[in-house]
């Protein structure tokens, strides 16, 4: 389903909207205070962005190092091409054990693992990783209340991009993450575990994202959700219209990249933004989300350009570009369209427009174009 259609019922849910507006305002205030508490917050963001960008550029090397380190510490590494393969690997690792605990993360959501608390009789646990430090093979989870001292079978699940080359890099990211995620200087608990676990590394479209030099910066994401906290669209629609992947602005750029832009949801996600830029302003690793959205809009338009029957929008935009391409065509279009528009107006306002522009006049007037355009005024004036 398209984002706009999925958003409609959410917009009518007044209770959720009030709750999100309140929560958003509180999160924004907390985050701003936490960031202001650091005099070099902007430099820290720069450093975080540089670390993530460097990691992604050389991800293959870092992943090999991570694999070697995990195996050296008595762990095992499993590579999963997609969500189904990751699930199969996890099922075989828990070996028929039914009481399996789960510490959820964006990646465990991505492969569709359902949440279940670890109880006293739990024999196996699946943990969504925060980060994996390549140099020592260490699993890092920044999540309150859970420790990684679990004695049974421990399975860590992570996206391949959750790799961090060195502890010196992790130090920077662990300053950025809690301030951006929960508006605090530190997470209440950050757990580490080196060795003795099974690591499932998930691709699920990520290598495709990495291949796109512009698009790959979306994989810098450290899963703080600050972009959602400041997003005026997310605040009104909530997470559901973003589909089964990540919600909020980062979802709008990641989901179409991971899953391709052909299906209606994925093709609509890059347009689920006013490009207001609030997300880019707070992103701790400086992902240029509006820039990526524009890039992906281009991908969507290109993917549809050669359809046998061109979409009305394509015809309109092509026609407009042609009209604007030269002064005489432009002036002619300006005159004729303005004349048509004036015919539709009453008392200086247009209340109903036909075709694609009808969506505008559903809720907004448009002023009637004045009889004299600027250029006509200029000509008469001279």
């Amino acid at each position: 389903m398209k984002f706009s259609d999925a958003a409609r019922p959410q917009l009518s849910d007044h209770r959720s909207r009030r709750r999100r507006r309140q929560a958003g305002a509180e999160a924004r205030a907390r985050r701003a205070e936490a960031a202001a508490g650091l005099p070099d917050w902007e430099r820290l963001r720069e450093a975080g962005a540089a670390i993530r960008e460097r990691t992604l550029r050389d991800l293959g090397t870092h992943l090999e190092e991570l694999e070697v380190s995990v195996i050296e510490e008595d762990g095992r590494v499993h590579w999963a091409r997609d969500a189904a393969e990751a699930k199969r690997i996890i099922t075989s690792l828990v070996g028929g054990e039914t009481d399996v605990g789960l510490v959820r993360s964006d990646v465990t959501d991505e492969i569709g693992l359902k949440s279940r608390e670890t109880g006293p009789y739990t024999k196996a646990a699946v943990v969504g990783a925060g980060f994996l430090v390549a140099e020592t093979g260490t699993l890092v989870v920044a999540d309150p209340g859970e420790s990684l001292t679990f004695p049974g079978t421990l399975i860590a699940v992570a996206g391949i991009e959750d790799t961090v080359p060195a502890w010196s890099d992790l130090e920077v990211l662990l300053q950025l993450l809690p301030r951006s995620a929960v508006g605090r200087r530190m997470h209440p608990a950050v757990s580490f575990r080196t060795g003795g676990f099974d690591l499932v590394l998930l691709d699920n479209g990520r290598t495709r994202v990495l291949a796109d030099e512009t698009g790959r910066s979306a994989l810098r994401c450290i899963h703080c959700s600050a972009c959602s906290d400041v997003c005026p669209i997310y605040e009104r629609t909530g997470p559901r219209p973003y589909g089964p992947g990540r919600a909020g602005p980062i979802g709008a750029v990641l989901t179409p990249q991971l899953r391709g832009v052909e299906a209606p949801l994925e093709a609509s996600l890059p347009f689920a933004s006013t490009l207001c830029g609030a997300c880019a302003d707070v992103c701790p690793v400086k992902i240029d989300i509006p820039g990526l959205l524009v890039h992906l809009r281009g991908e969507v338009v290109e993917s549809r350009r050669n359809r046998p029957v061109p979409a009305p929008e394509l015809l309109l935009m092509r026609g407009l570009a042609w009209s604007m391409g030269d002064r005489r065509r432009y002036e002619h279009t300006l005159m004729s369209r303005a004349r048509w528009a004036r015919l539709l107006a009453r008392d200086g306002r247009i209340r109903r427009l036909p075709g694609l522009f009808g969506k505008w006049t559903d809720a907004r007037d448009l002023p009637a174009p004045p009889r004299q355009s600027f250029r006509a005024w200029w000509r008469r004036r001279r």
């Binding site: 830029g277 820039g291 306002r349 809720a363 355009s373």
Partner: protein, 257 residues
């Protein structure tokens, strides 16, 4: 100073008062204003909607028109932002065009904040997203507004929140867009202002269009119109005069216009 103006396609057709006000203001400040009649559109709409090749063609056309000019001023923050940040992404050869948004030009290039304006209304200011975040205009428009005689400036609560326009977003996601502008309008009404102003007629068309549909009695006005207003002008007199002129023109054939 010789200043070329880019009035924008949107402004040329729908909001000519903004361009006229900008011209009057710059001339009042003692500068020579040039309007290149071959100007059309900067390509913003095509670029942000994903029509890259079309946008790039329009951008090249824009660069050609303004190639010989040392200073280009536009009353649209989003068009200025397109030239400044999108053009270099389209083609590195398009980087560095000297295009300024009007308030930025007044404060940073001309170094004026008091432009001798008078506007006897209670006004609130909405910082548009492109002016606030892409151009970083900060309080420049407010500094200009504070010097306007007889203007009562009302602070807009949650001013930095987007109005929900977003170009094609306003139609592709019309429901969410309306939900956003409804909240923006609620904030505007809280201020008790007669008018809301901004540095961009596209956002103002959205806010103003919703204010008009609701018959709110609050007007959306471009900041250029406020800065161009002078004492002694009866408020609204000019518009009334133009309306009369317009009515007179209706009897003449379109070729004569």
């Amino acid at each position: 100073m010789r200043i070329a103006v880019f009035v924008t396609c949107w402004g040329d057709a729908l909001f000519p008062e903004t361009g006229k006000a900008m011209v009057r203001l710059l001339e009042r400040l003692g500068h020579e204003v040039i309007f290149e009649p071959s100007q059309t559109c900067c390509g913003q709409m095509h670029w942000t909607t994903g029509y890259r090749p079309e946008a790039i063609r329009l951008a090249r056309g824009f660069a050609e028109v303004f190639d010989d000019h040392e200073l280009v001023v536009t009353p649209s923050a989003s068009c200025a932002a397109t030239v400044r940040t999108a053009y270099p992404r389209m083609d590195p050869a398009l980087a560095g065009l000297p295009v300024y948004e009007l308030t930025e030009f007044l404060v940073d290039v001309l170094g004026v904040v008091d432009v001798g304006a008078s506007y006897p209304h209670r006004v609130t200011y909405h910082p548009t997203c492109q002016s606030l975040r892409t151009l970083g205009l900060a309080d420049r428009p407010l500094r200009l507004l504070r010097e306007v005689r007889n203007l009562e400036l009302a602070e807009l609560p949650m001013a930095e929140e987007c109005c929900g326009f977003g170009g094609a977003f306003s139609m592709k996601n019309a429901d969410t867009s309306v939900a956003m502008v409804a909240d923006k309008i609620a904030r505007i009404r809280e201020t008790g202002a007669d008018a809301v102003c901004a540095t961009d007629d596209s956002c103002l068309a959205h806010i103003g269009g919703a204010l008009s549909r609701l018959r709110s009695g609050v007007r959306a006005v471009h900041i250029a119109e406020i800065l161009a207003s002078e004492a002694g002008e009866a408020p609204g007199a000019e518009q009334a005069g133009e309306r009369l002129a317009e009515r007179a023109m209706r009897t003449r054939p379109p070729e004569a216009r």
